[in-house]
Symmetry: C2
Subunit: 242 residues, 2 copies
Amino acid sequence: MQFTSEQRLDDGVLERGFTLGEIPGILWTPASAPAPLILLSPPPLGLRKTYPRLVARARHSAADGFATATIELPGSGDRPRWPAAEQALADLRRAMEAREPVSDEIIDALILPLVDKAVPEWQAALDALLSLPEIGGPVGYSGGVISIGTRLAAVEPRIAAAVLFAGSFVPRAMFEEARRVTIPLHVLLQWDDEGNDRQAALDLFDAFGSKEKTLHANMGGHTGVPQSAGDEAGRFLARHLK
Amino acid sequence: MQFTSEQRLDDGVLERGFTLGEIPGILWTPASAPAPLILLSPPPLGLRKTYPRLVARARHSAADGFATATIELPGSGDRPRWPAAEQALADLRRAMEAREPVSDEIIDALILPLVDKAVPEWQAALDALLSLPEIGGPVGYSGGVISIGTRLAAVEPRIAAAVLFAGSFVPRAMFEEARRVTIPLHVLLQWDDEGNDRQAALDLFDAFGSKEKTLHANMGGHTGVPQSAGDEAGRFLARHLK
C-alpha cells in the first residue's frame, strides 16, 4: 500500500490517496486515532464520478470517530475492463432497452466475476489498512454492489457489521451465500428503483442468516436515498462498531 | 372530555386519565407548552395491559417536546365487545389453530367494524385534545392496528405524519383507502411475525399513495420491535412535526 497524495479537509479529516498494487483507493482518517474502520465500497461507476458522495459519507463517519477507506472496483474508473464483463453489460443493456426480462445467464456473467475479483481485493485492502497505526478496532462495511457485500460478509470474519444497498442484480448463487452471513445487517432498498428487481431484493433479505437484520425501504428511485436513511445507516454502523 | 386522575411522573411529565363520553384515555404532557401532539393508538389488548409500553413511549416523546394521548379501542379493555367481533375472533382462532388460511370474510368481520367504530372516536378525541391550551401545533399518529391508521390518515387532514405497525390482518378494502393516503408514513414490519401476513404488509406499503414513505423491517417476532427501530420511528415523527 503506497500513499500517493495527502490533503487535510477543512473539518480536520485527513484524505490520502493510495494504491494497492494497481488498485487506486482513498483513506479518510479523523483526528482521533486509532479509529475503527468503515470499508466504503462504491457503486460500479468509478471513484472519480462518485467522489462527492463518498467524501460526504466519509466526513460524516469521521465526525462519529470512524476512518473510512474505499478502493476502485474491478473494471470501474481507469481499471481495465475484461471482455466477458463488457459482453454481459452489452447484453444487459440490450435486454433492458428491449424491455425483456434480464436472464440469469446475463446476471451471472455480469456479477459473479466481479464478486470473484473484488472480494479478495477488499480483503487485501483490509490487511493493509489494519496494519496502519491510525486504524484499529472493529471493521464495518458499507457497499453499493450487494453481491460483493454478501460474499465479503460471508467469508471475512474481520467484518463486524454491514450496510448493503439492494440496488443491483443478484445471481441465484448469492442466495446460498446469504444464508451463511451471520453478522448484523442493515439493508437499504429503493422501493421504486427502476433498474432493480424488488422481489429479488426482498428474497435476498429473507435469505440472510443474520439474527439481527433490518431492511429500510424508501421512495425516490435508484439514487434518491433520503438523507434520513443515510443517517440511520450511519447510526447502525456506529451502534455495532463501538 | 373529563379528566379523572392526575399524577406527575418523576421526569416531570404530567399524566392525566380522562374519559371522552364512555371511552377511557390517557394524556401525557411535557413541561413545555403548547406541545405538538402524538396520538398513540394501542394494540387491541387494552390500555391496562399495554400501559408499560405506552408510558415508556410517551415519556420518550415528552423528552422530545411532544404531548401524547391514547384512548381505549372499541372492544378492548373494559369497553363492551359486540357479538359479531366476538364471532370473528372465535373464527380467526379456530382457523389459526387448524393452520387454515384466514379467509377474507373473517378478516373483514374482524377489522372493518373496528375501523368504522375507532376512527370517529379518534377524531372526537382529536377535537377535544386540540381545544386544550397545552396542546398545539401539528399532530402525528402512531398506531398498532394498521387499518385504523390507514383510514385515519386517509380521512383526517389534521394528521401530518403517521407511524404504522404492519402487524394485523388487512381487509382487501383497505388497499383502496391506502391509495388515498398522501402524508409521510413510517411503516414498521416484523419480518418473521408469526401472526402476520408479510406479503399483505408489503402490498399495503406499496399501495400507500404517499410520496414519502419508508418501510423498516426487523427480526424478532410480533412484540420484538428493536429499541433502535422505536427510536427511528420517534425521529421520523420529530422530523415531520417540528
